[in-house]
Every structure is written in structure tokens, then in C-alpha cells.
Amino acid sequence: MGKHDVSGIASPNWLTTRAEALFDWVKQRVDPAVNWSRANSLWPMPFGTACCAIEFMAAAASRFDFARFGMERQAFSPRQADVLICAGRLPFKLAPVIRRIYDQMPQPKWVISMGACASTGGVFDNYAMVQGIDTVVPVDVYVPGCPPRPEGLLYGVLLLHKKIKGESLVTAGLRDEQPLDDRGLRLPPATIDEISEPFGNSLHQFRSA
């Protein structure tokens, strides 16, 4: 029997016990059905920008075919999509666009960051590239690769299925919108700088001559 923080009421009484039982019922009966249906009908919002978009298209075509995983309809309108798949590098000029597309998607929504550039900036550690879309939108699954093979993307989708199946309707705040703060940032600046730091210890890549 799971314990839930039922509205912060200190001492258990008849009401909290009933609420707990209700939560448990939701977790055991409703959640599996809801999560199963959500996971198996993830309509992707293909935010395809570069090379990964071509592998995404290959994953959608007949050889790899992610329609068999429920992603039959590629919803090019964010209003009708479940998962935003950022396939490709995200330059700074495109950052407000992906944020707006993400904000336009109704809950429940998830984000798959496909490829090295979407996850960390990839080979493009320069003035023009966002060093990972997680500085702009919250990401659920990262699929590494440059580009990831279609099988890699499918594996990422299956990981997302697993994540969805572990979710619960009663988790407070899980499906809340997380808008940008008043500075216009999703994360504190120090965090953004930290996760955008160059990887490795080769200084050669920043020396011009």
C-alpha cells in the first residue's frame, strides 16, 4: 500500500484514508490503461532540422517504419502532437521557434532529443549553435548518434514508452506547463553555462592557427 502526501494533512483520518485508497486505485487500475494508450499512440511532432531529419524520414519509411509503434500520423501541427522529436541541430535563430512549438503542444507531451547536436550541440561548439535543446525545452529521452540509425531512434522511442508506462496520473505537477521565467530562460544561467561547457580537454579545437 503506497503512502501519498495527501494535501499535507498531518494526521490520518477517514478522509485521508479514502483519498489514499483512491490514489492507489488510480495507480493500479487507471494508470496502466492510460499509460498504455499514451505510449502506443505517440504522434510525433517532427521538428526536423538537419541530417537527423533524414534518418527520421528513413525511420518513417517502409524499411524501419515507426508506424508499427503507434507513431502513424506525423502531426505537423503541434496542437495535435504528443512527442516533439527535435531531429537535428538547433541554431540560436531557431531556439524561439522550438520553444514556441513546444509551448503550443497540449499536455501530455514529451520531447525526444534526437542526435548529438540536439542533445549537446554536437560538432558545432560555436557562436551559432544551441548547446543542447535542453537549455530551451525540457527533454525526456536523448538519442545519441550523428545521426542515430533509425533503429537507434526506435530504441529511444521505446525508452520513452518505458518512461511513460512508469508515470502516474496522481503525480503532482508532472503535467504542469513549465513556462520560461521572467528572464526568458528555462534554467538558471549558471546551469546553462555549465552544461554548455566544451567536452574534453582538446584546446586545439578553439585555436585558429
Binding site: 538537419a50 524499411r63 505537423f76 537535428g88 585558429s208
Partner: protein
């Protein structure tokens, strides 16, 4: 066998009788009904849109359905390639080029290697030459297959997309067999290639050459005399030969307008003058002609591939210059001199002489040029990519103004843009 003639009345051609495009002026047309007013609608297409072929933003001013004005906004995929190139050794630039025109990565690799070899004055071996021709023509085929598939989708034909991508998978298998990667191949090195073709590559490519024309015939049967396809593409987006030259178009866009310029024929590289192939040249400069040109180019590429396979000589793929080509690992680990060469190349890079070189190749989108300026160090002072898709796209407003909105989609598709190259 019965024949049937279909007479199809085409909609607006967007072209006035004297050949200039019709441009509807701002404000109400003089004969507009008063209550229908002259307000134009501003429509924003993109940058996230299935029909823009990448992150392209088109701001379209519409008078009803007619495009009065079309302003493309590019730069949504600007990745700083040229800046990055100034911080990379010449061989390190080659993997960057895969990400440039990602529909035809091997032709980018070949282009940049040829430009650097021109700058450094390095010749390549005969086997490398023929293998690079094979790489370029394979890239042309996969690029045109994406084009025909996605243009089909834009105009409403979904199935050819699946056929085209199935054939692409076969080329992808060959690319993966050769380089280890489906898309980001990084095939070439300065002075040679990353690896020789493996066992089974020739047989696989021969099988592809034998069976691929069947797919081309299917595409032809489904599209070329299809009333909807013809109706939506003939007379749409016309560029005359003089306009195409002045707008610096290249590739199938230029040739469909009747200008018979193909870098492979006119400024040959990699021994293209010794191959027997034709260059299709259009007449009308509309979307339909561009389709015919690209379809025929795929046929011709198959021809070139067959000839290249027949003449593939034995021998090394890399030039025998230890200052430019890394020694084999076994030698580098056992022979002192080889180890020193390896060290110098990896730590200091291969230096180029002071000077500059420009080399254009006939990429699938057009003339893909690479301009390198060197100050004698191992990293270029300037790396410029001459982007065919960028220049072809610049002519979009010229082609689209006066046409209908749905024609704009067809014209945009016919330009065959790849935003990685447009924006670099």
C-alpha cells in the same frame, strides 16, 4: 493497346504574353469589386512546416490565392561551418561537410578533398579517381530520389516517396559497407580516401545498377504523364535562360531553363570527360522541366556508375606521400620514421602552401564550390562553401510572384533546397 489523349487546361501561368512574370501591385487591383476590397493577407509559412523542405520561412503576401510577394527568410539552420573550418585541420573539415548537404554527403566530401588537393598541388591515384566518381554519382542518385519523393508528397503523391526511400536504403547499405556510416560518410581524405571498397561492394552496386531503372520506370509511369502532376508543374515557376544565368542558378535549375552548363562537361574533374553520358537540358524552365531533368540525370548517373565499375583499376587508393597520408597503424607502431610522420600529421596537421584555390563540382543541387585561402599553416584562413541551393533559393521570389499559393509550394519544391547548405 488503346491510347487516350487528355487535354488539360492549365491555370494561371504567372507569365505575361511577353514572357515577364505577372506581378500584382500592392493595393487593390483596378477592377476589383468594391466590397471585395484590396486587403492583402500576410501568411507565414515555416520555419517549421512539412512543405518547406527544411527550416525555411516564407513570408507570403497574398491577394486571395495569388502570391503578390514572397520573402524567404533563411538562416534558421546557420551552423557556423565556415567559422569552424578556420579552427580545423584540412582533414578535420571533411566530416563537417557531411553535415552540409546531408542528402548527398559523399559528393561534399569529394568536393572539399578535390579543392584542398588543388590548393596543395596533390594528385590522386587512378583507383581513387574512379571511386570518387562512383561516390559522386551515388550521391546524385540519392539526392534526386529524396527530391522526387518529397516533391511528390508536396504535390499530393505519397507513394513515390516510399519507393524512393526504399531505393535510398540500398545505396545507404552500400555507403555503410564502404564507410561504416549511412549518412555521415566522411569518405575522402586529402590525397585519398578513408578506406577502399570492401568485398561485396561491387556486386551490390552492380545489382543496384541492374534493378534501379525499374524504380525509375515506376516513377515515370506514375508521374510524368499524370494529369495532376502535369497540371501543377507545367508553366509554373518559369525562369528563362537569361534570367537563370543572371540569378546565378546552377545544376538542374539552370539546365531546365535551357542553359547547357554542367561542370562535369564544361570544367571536368575526376576524369568525367572520359565517361560516356548525356546531360539533360530543358526548354521551358518550369517545374515540370526540372522534374524531367532530374529524372533523366538519375538514368545518366546509373550509366556512369556502370562505366566506372567496368574501368575500376587496381592499385592504392591513397597517394604515396607520407606527409599527407597517415601511415598504416602497423607501420606507425613499428617504424620510427612512420611514427614521426604520424605524429606530425596528427599534432601539427598537414600544412598547405600560401595561396588560394577554388574548385566547383557538379553536385546534385548545382555547382558546389569550395574556396580555400591558406596562409601556410595547417588550418585555412578562410573556407568558403559556394552554396548552390542558397543561390537557387534566392530566385524563389522571382519565380513565385504572380502565381497561386499552391504553385508556390510546387516551385519551392522544384528548387531542391537543403537548408544545411543554404544556411551553412
Amino acid at each position: 493497346m488503346s491510347t487516350r489523349t487528355v487535354t488539360y487546361a492549365l491555370g494561371t501561368t504567372g507569365v505575361a504574353p511577353d514572357g515577364t512574370p505577372v506581378r500584382v501591385p500592392l493595393g487593390a487591383p483596378p477592377d476589383a469589386e468594391p466590397d471585395l476590397g484590396g486587403e492583402h493577407l500576410l501568411l507565414n509559412i515555416g520555419p517549421q512546416h512539412p512543405a518547406t523542405h527544411g527550416v525555411l520561412r516564407l513570408v507570403v503576401e497574398l491577394d486571395g490565392e495569388t502570391v503578390v510577394r514572397c520573402i524567404p527568410h533563411v538562416g534558421y539552420l546557420h551552423s557556423g561551418f565556415e567559422k569552424l573550418g578556420e579552427y580545423r585541420f584540412y582533414n578535420q573539415i571533411i566530416p563537417l561537410t557531411d553535415r552540409n548537404d546531408y542528402l548527398a554527403p559523399m559528393s561534399n566530401n569529394v568536393g572539399v578533398a578535390l579543392a584542398v588537393e588543388k590548393l596543395m598541388g596533390i594528385g590522386i591515384t587512378p583507383r581513387c579517381t574512379v571511386l570518387r566518381v562512383i561516390a559522386c554519382e551515388m550521391s546524385r542518385i540519392i539526392s534526386h530520389l529524396v527530391w522526387v519523393g518529397t516533391t511528390g508528397i508536396d504535390l499530393g503523391a505519397f507513394t513515390p516517396f516510399l519507393w524512393a526511400f526504399q531505393q535510398r536504403e540500398r545505396i545507404y547499405d552500400l555507403q555503410e559497407m564502404w564507410t561504416g556510416a549511412r549518412l555521415t560518410t566522411s569518405l575522402t581524405r586529402v590525397g585519398g580516401l578513408m578506406a577502399d571498397i570492401p568485398e561485396g561492394f561491387t556486386a551490390g552496386l552492380r545489382e543496384f545498377i541492374q534493378t534501379f531503372p525499374r524504380t525509375l520506370a515506376e516513377l515515370d509511369r506514375v508521374l510524368t504523364r499524370n494529369a495532376i502532376w502535369v497540371g501543377r508543374t507545367q508553366g509554373v515557376g518559369v525562369m528563362t535562360a537569361a534570367e537563370a544565368t543572371n540569378w546565378s542558378l546552377s545544376g538542374p535549375m539552370l539546365r531546365a531553363s535551357g542553359v547547357p552548363f554542367d561542370v562535369r562537361k564544361d570544367q571536368p574533374y575526376l576524369g568525367y570527360e572520359t565517361y560516356d553520358f548525356e546531360v539533360p537540358v530543358g526548354e521551358h524552365g518550369d517545374v515540370y522541366d526540372r522534374y524531367l531533368v532530374r529524372l533523366e540525370e538519375m538514368h545518366q548517373s546509373t550509366r556512369i556508375l556502370a562505366q566506372a565499375l567496368d574501368r575500376l583499376p587496381d592499385g592504392p587508393i591513397n597517394v604515396d606521400d607520407p606527409r599527407v597520408i597517415l601511415p598504416s597503424k602497423s607501420r606507425a607502431m613499428s617504424d620510427m620514421e612512420a611514427m614521426i610522420f604520424h605524429f606530425k600529421q596528427v599534432m601539427e596537421g598537414v600544412t598547405a602552401p600560401v595561396g588560394e584555390a577554388y574548385l566547383g563540382i557538379e553536385g546534385p543541387k548545382g555547382e558546389l564550390g569550395y574556396y580555400f585561402v591558406s596562409d601556410g599553416s595547417a588550418k585555412p584562413v578562410r573556407w568558403r562553401i559556394r552554396p548552390p541551393a542558397f543561390l537557387n533559393l534566392a530566385a524563389l521570389p522571382k519565380m513565385a510572384e504572380g502565381h497561386l499559393l499552391s504553385d508556390l509550394i510546387a516551385i519551392n519544391a522544384s528548387v531542391d533546397i537543403v537548408m544545411g547548405e543554404v544556411d551553412r
